[in-house]
Amino acid sequence: MAAGAGSVTARLAANADAPVVRIDIPVSGMTCAACQARVQRTLVRQPGVRDAAVNLMTRTASITYDPKEASPQEFVDAIRTTGYGADLPIDRSILEEQEASDRAYAEEYRGLATKAGVTLAAGVVAMIVSMPLMAPAGHAEMPPASDPFMRWVSRSLTPIVQRALPRLYSIDPRVLSFALLAMTAAIMMWSGRTFYARAWTAFRHHAADMNTLIAVGTGAAFLFSLAATVAPSFFVTRGVAADTYYEAVIFIIALVLVGNALETRAKRQTAAALRGLANLQPQTARLERDSGDVDVPIEDVRQGDVVSVRPGERLPVDGEIMAGSSAVDESMLTGESLPVVKAVGDRVIGGTINATGAFRYRATTLGADSVLARIVRLMREAQGTRAPVQRLADRVSAVFVPIVISLAIATFAIWYVAVDTAPAVRAFAAAVAVLVIACPCAMGLAVPTAVMVATGKGAELGVLIKGGEALQRAGSLDTVVLDKTGTVTEGRPTVTDVVSYDPDRADVEILELAAAVERRSEHPLAAAIVTSADGSGSTLGAAESFESYPGRGVTGVANGIAVAAGNPRLMAEWAVDTSAASADVVRLAAESKTIVLVAADGRLAGLIAIADPIKAGSRDAVTALRRMGLDVVLLTGDSDVVARSVARAVGIERVVAGVLPEGKVAEVRRLQEERRVVAMVGDGVNDAPALAQADVGMAIGSGTDVAIEASDVTLVRGDLRGVAQAVALSRRTMRTMKQNLFWAFVYNVVGIPVAAGLLYPIAGILLSPILASVAMALSSVSVVSNSLRLRRYDPRAV
């Protein structure tokens, strides 16, 4: 015993060290939450599997396993034994994968639509053929058809059919019954085959799903009709109408197929945004070679290749501009509506459109590493995730089907006992209606479809949301913490003011002199001065001599002039009189700007003020967030004075300044301890720990540098308005999910009792199995359509 326990421990320890591998296996044939749960349960039970997550919408099983204990082929076999299709994944790019999944959806839709069309037509024929059987004249001694829907149809259509097809009524009813039997059997074998096959495999695994309900419902109706056809006297002698339900069987199968087809089409539509992204990738690139420009397939482009782009063309790969300049339309990736000006040294993204100029650029990231492929991959992963709100639906659908079967049996018994005339027939119709109306499809679709549409919608706006959980948390936020540098502000110190105190020197010359000495400094403020000087056309090179005084400034000789650039302390050391600048120094310091005084040959020449400018959308974004009822907090490592001046400028009241990166984590935690749901918005690099601590971490990208793996929400465009859009979209999505779940539950809660005949004693309402199948198909379609409404929602309006 002890030895046994020891070996188990050893095995567990070995497993802990073993490297695990993740594989995504495409799974086909899953239609509802119960199907998905079944495949997932089977995979989790496989030896060597550490974790398995099956995704109904992307139709993949992500399995983490120990390659020493299991192989992908075993998983494929295991999935196939559950009755679903599976294949080993083919090694292909994420974009090709998306195309393949689209093709699979399109094929499935075509198949379902054909079957649904043919079966519906067969249903109409069956209904017409069964008219003479239902007419009281058919079996005069029997009451008319017990199915209320069929009775109504029979009453309203009989005169028409009698006039149009009088010969039909002269055919022996037994011949008609056998013809219907043959037709129904054929339809069940052809279009209903998958339901029965899957229901049977599920049954063998002690599981039940939507297929079980349809198979049991139509199977029972068929067997009853078969008996009534083959041995009608058995029923008649017992006072039971030898009614047949052939047309009901055919119609139920047809309507379920129609529902499935519509659902497949709608699911395809939910992936439209993703398809749009994948389609952005051009197939060829024009490369510059010694022999001239050549068009090559995109797969043949290598890092470092020089790509040439003309106006109006789509950029084939990511890269960095080497020559030329242009405006590039990046709206498809960033949501930014205006074209972005790009010049030498700027980075460009594959898939965006060159608007005006022609330029050449060097290819940098390719294939799976490209920005587009990473966004598509993230979206595919996100769209498959489940929101916590779905757990309720999962729990219900797991026990749903056996309970419904039990209810159907109880319905049969109660009707049988309660009804005097033709009890078996009525009891039977009600039981079949209960089976058919109850389907967990709508419940299984309620959340994933909303997640899919919302993440796609977000991607169109440059707001990448990492899945259902992030969506749900973002929907319940009440506090947004904004990092200052790089989030509210540009994060790049920029020269804002230049003042000359020397009548012989223009502002530009002040800048030029300072730049000449700062050119050799590595201080961030120096970079701001040099950039500004270069931008205003400075031709003065670096100073001949240079000395740096840490914390004070720099000195040097440029163009024969002794230049000092730094703070008042440096000026004092150099005995420069700065009294002329004192008023400006006080004024600019109050605006929390950093001041660099510039002296030339021992006399004060001018002043340069540097600040980190506030981003264009920051104020609007803060206003929008506050309008949405969110508390906005500014969190920064900068001094209180600087922080407050920025906060004032954008309209934030609550400021926490002077915190170190660890302090940011503590601040977020402190807010969470106040039972707030906190979003942290930062640049994704310096703020990573705080982003991770927050309930929702939002990384703000700068167009090309998309830190999409690091956070719950990534704002591709470096604009704070994306935060408000993300929150608005999430709130709207949560509302959609809750509506979907509500309707899916209400539909079943109301539908099942009505189908069971609860309203019959009160209002005489009885639901035909055919109407029940219509209701079931409608419930799934309405849930998916409700999710699709999110596509029209525009969070930019917040």
């Binding site: 002690h206 599981a207 089907v401 018994a413 006992v417």
Partner: protein, 45 residues
């Protein structure tokens, strides 16, 4: 009550019992590896 009513009610109770046993009790046992599923695997291997 007709005589066959009693038969139907008894049959229904039995059927409901069996459905719940088959899908919940036997299904769970199988999921835990205690049921027929485990025997199947053992025989196969």
């Amino acid at each position: 009550m007709r005589p066959d009513d009693i038969a139907v009610v008894i049959a229904a109770i039995a059927a409901i019992g069996w459905v719940n046993w088959y899908f919940f009790v036997a299904g769970d046992r199988r999921a835990d590896g205690r049921g027929s599923g485990q025997r199947d695997r053992a025989t196969r291997s």
